[in-house]
Symmetry: C2
Subunit: 464 residues, 2 copies
């Protein structure tokens, strides 16, 4: 299995305040096959508690007693795909503005308090949700919950903070997208893979739309989406569930639920009909590269078993040094310096299955493309074998154990699944569901989804 | 110059009631270079009058005394690009529903009255506007103005009409898009040419979103967009301007202006960065075809003179049998049975410049693509000549005379330009502006806009 950072094809967006705003894949990649298994393998049967406050806020507590540390996260189930038309980047811009103070707390106080006790804080925005978190000692949990609950309803913005923060975001866009040939091409690829769904719009926003964002836009998004009944509280660490519930009731529990129904993004991506491609030339590219993206169902949208089969298909293609792409392109044919596959399982809507490769020496991108297509066609025509399924499944289930090195990863896993509308059981039963996948299940998803008309191929090339 | 119907690459959408709902190019193609010149050439100096009613409604009267006929049109400056997210097809659906009766007029009465006197009626929806019109004898003008003004504010919808009319639209979609390989591919091409702007969404709507439209959606769009200060009245025919103004004041003039600012679509398409393509295979395709679309400025968004230069560039490429594409691909190399270029000048936002060709006999789509690219590259490298500019300009200005055979075409021209935010003078001065275009102007727009990263290439192929 390829480490998460390699499988993630898009770069995280980070601002100067150490806060992290990832785009589509960055955090979600951490959670795909691997992280789903982490909870279960952690202690045989994880002792996770789930509550709902009276105002509708969900609470999850994940015991983790390896160190006297607690991770506190609030997940709003709204992200960049909830940006209004013409206001791309708004969810992410608001994430920045959430550090500007409230009716009762001056700007910077919350961050200072966390820093004073040696804690860490972070925030990030994805297409599906926006997340704020702190990692502190257990004694400080009540303090951060108080501040975070205050920030959920009492944000104060002034015109004085809007323009400077927009410049911060625009600079972030320049450094993370415009200075990265892969980032530039990635925006076009997303836009043409999603013909209609806002997953095709950059999380950070198009530059000209970031420039037009206003205080009213930010407060409008805040009032619409930041509400306890649109949020999930995740606390992982050296804590008792009952204690967390009491603290939650004393902080978040005092907030009124939002008015009316929680806003939902209504967009469903239409089925694809035509194979698409995008080609980008840039002076900064030294080695060309090839990627292919297929529109596929996610764990949220798939029929039973299909997402698990796609996870295993990715493993069979590139989960280890015995996987098909590695063996064929790197060991046998020696046409590529890297090649792989990944499945982005965690997504509220339709998602991506990816293939990629970089040519070695005299070989071209087209040679790599042809070799990868040959491997995929072979699976579609002849299917996978029971032996390789067993081997890659074992490898997948084992390798995820090594990924659960961080409490934050665990907290992110539960936060992601619950924010997308899943249940704790979806996580706990995942290894059983992976174990139930058959050769025929994998052959079926390969034949159903790895079809040209579902794909976008991207070529990143040096400009001569 | 290629006749409008050939230059239009997308099929009109028509429903069973003889009303015409065109998509993007269909009507606009009528108006590009050709129609812009029609008014001027009609009578040397056209005697067009323009007024504004107190409620903000614009009025244009175009005398045309060739026959005792009058064309009456109301243009709402809102079309499918104003559909709310997840509600694609709403503007067009409302166009259908506008024939379902009002508070004072039963369903069918307006249409019957027009039919009784031998008149015609029609309606169509584009990305930028929605238009209702009737062609009647001058005596009936007051009658149709009364009915149309009533329909602007008094529409009554019941649940009983919603589902049946949705089925009409869904059937329209099946017959116009799903049964047409070019229509299917065209939806993908539009979606990937426009990475962000709603011009990438089909006017008729995605099927699953049409299915979800409700009475409330339709009334919401109606109340937001159907208001005199968002409308242009165009009357062409055997009438006096003063008489039309009086009738307008007595009908439309009695309506209250809308509440608040007229809604404007805020979306601006980001600059393209990567060459894109789409490929579609279909059993129903007998001859493959190639098209290339470049994102270019329209008459509304271009710098001074650029749109005129693009119109002439299209003429130099394919405006007559001496134009470059025809000469090279059809006469000299004999690789194609058809080949051409067009510029879609009339658009509120960024628009398209198109190239197309179909291979002859043994030749492939790639042969045609290569030949077309060779012609374009030659212009970019060596430029056009004064001689061919003069010839094609004359041909353009002359040919448009033959296109002004219909009063409706004239009315559409003024309606289009005014609905897009232009002025009557933009139409009247167009021949002078075309006459002022130089060889260097054309070379500049060719070099600036016919660049691979601005393009989407589409391949329509037979499925074997």
């Amino acid at each position: 299995m390829i480490p998460a950072l390699i499988r993630c094809r898009e770069v995280p967006i980070q601002n100067v305040r150490l806060r992290l705003a990832t785009i589509f894949l960055s955090i979600l990649c951490l959670l795909s096959a691997s992280a789903f298994a982490a909870a279960k393998t952690q202690a045989g049967k994880p002792d996770v508690s789930r509550f709902q406050l009276e105002n509708g806020m969900e609470v999850v507590v994940i015991p983790d007693r390896r160190a006297p540390v607690v991770t506190h996260m609030v997940w709003y189930k709204s992200g960049s795909s909830n940006d209004p038309p013409g206001k791309s980047g708004l969810a992410h811009f608001l994430e920045h503005l959430m550090f500007k103070g409230t009716k009762t707390v001056p700007a910077g106080e919350f961050s200072s308090k966390v820093a004073e006790i040696g804690g860490q804080e972070n925030a990030f925005t994805t297409v599906d949700f926006t997340v704020y978190y702190q990692k502190v000692s257990p004694e400080a949990l009540a303090m951060v919950m108080g501040y975070e609950a205050d920030r959920m309803v009492n944000l104060v913005l002034t015109e004085a903070v809007i323009e400077p923060e927009k410049n911060v975001v625009l600079e972030e866009r320049r450094s993370r997208v415009d200075s990265s040939p892969g980032g530039i091409l990635g925006e076009t690829v997303a836009a043409i893979l999603y013909k209609h769904h806002p997953y095709g719009t950059p999380i950070i926003g198009w530059a000209h739309e970031i420039e037009s964002l206003t205080l009213e836009d930010a407060m409008g998004f805040y009032k619409t989406h930041y509400r306890p009944d649109n949020a999930v509280l995740v606390v992982a660490g050296d804590v008792e569930a009952q204690q967390v519930l009491e603290l939650a009731n004393g902080t978040y529990g005092k907030l009124a639920p939002g008015n009316g129904a929680v806003p939902v993004n209504p967009i469903v991506e239409p089925e694809p009909v035509a194979a698409r491609s995008a080609e980008y030339f840039d002076e900064r590219v030294t080695t060309p590269s090839f990627e292919r993206f297929y529109l596929v169902p996610s764990y949220q949208t798939a029929q039973a078993g299909e997402a698990e089969a796609l996870d295993l298909l990715a493993s069979i293609l590139s989960g280890s040094s015995t996987a098909r792409l590695y063996r064929k392109l790197i060991v046998e044919d020696e046409v590529a310096t890297s090649a792989g596959a990944w499945f982005q399982g965690a997504s509220r809507g339709q998602t991506r299955f990816g293939l990629y490769g970089r040519p070695r020496g005299k070989y071209s991108v087209e040679d790599v493309e042809q070799a990868i297509a040959g491997v995929v066609d072979d699976i579609i025509e002849h299917g996978v074998t029971q032996e390789e399924l067993d081997r890659q499944r074992n490898s997948l289930l084992k390798s995820v154990i090594f990924e659960r090195d961080s409490q934050t990863t665990l907290a992110r896993l539960y936060g992601t699944v619950l924010s997308l509308g899943g249940k704790v059981e979806d996580i706990h039963e995942w290894p059983e569901r992976i174990s139930a996948v058959t050769v025929e299940d994998i052959n079926q998803v390969a034949r159903k989804y790895l079809r040209p008309h579902r794909s976008v191929t991207s070529y990143l090339r040096p400009k001569s």
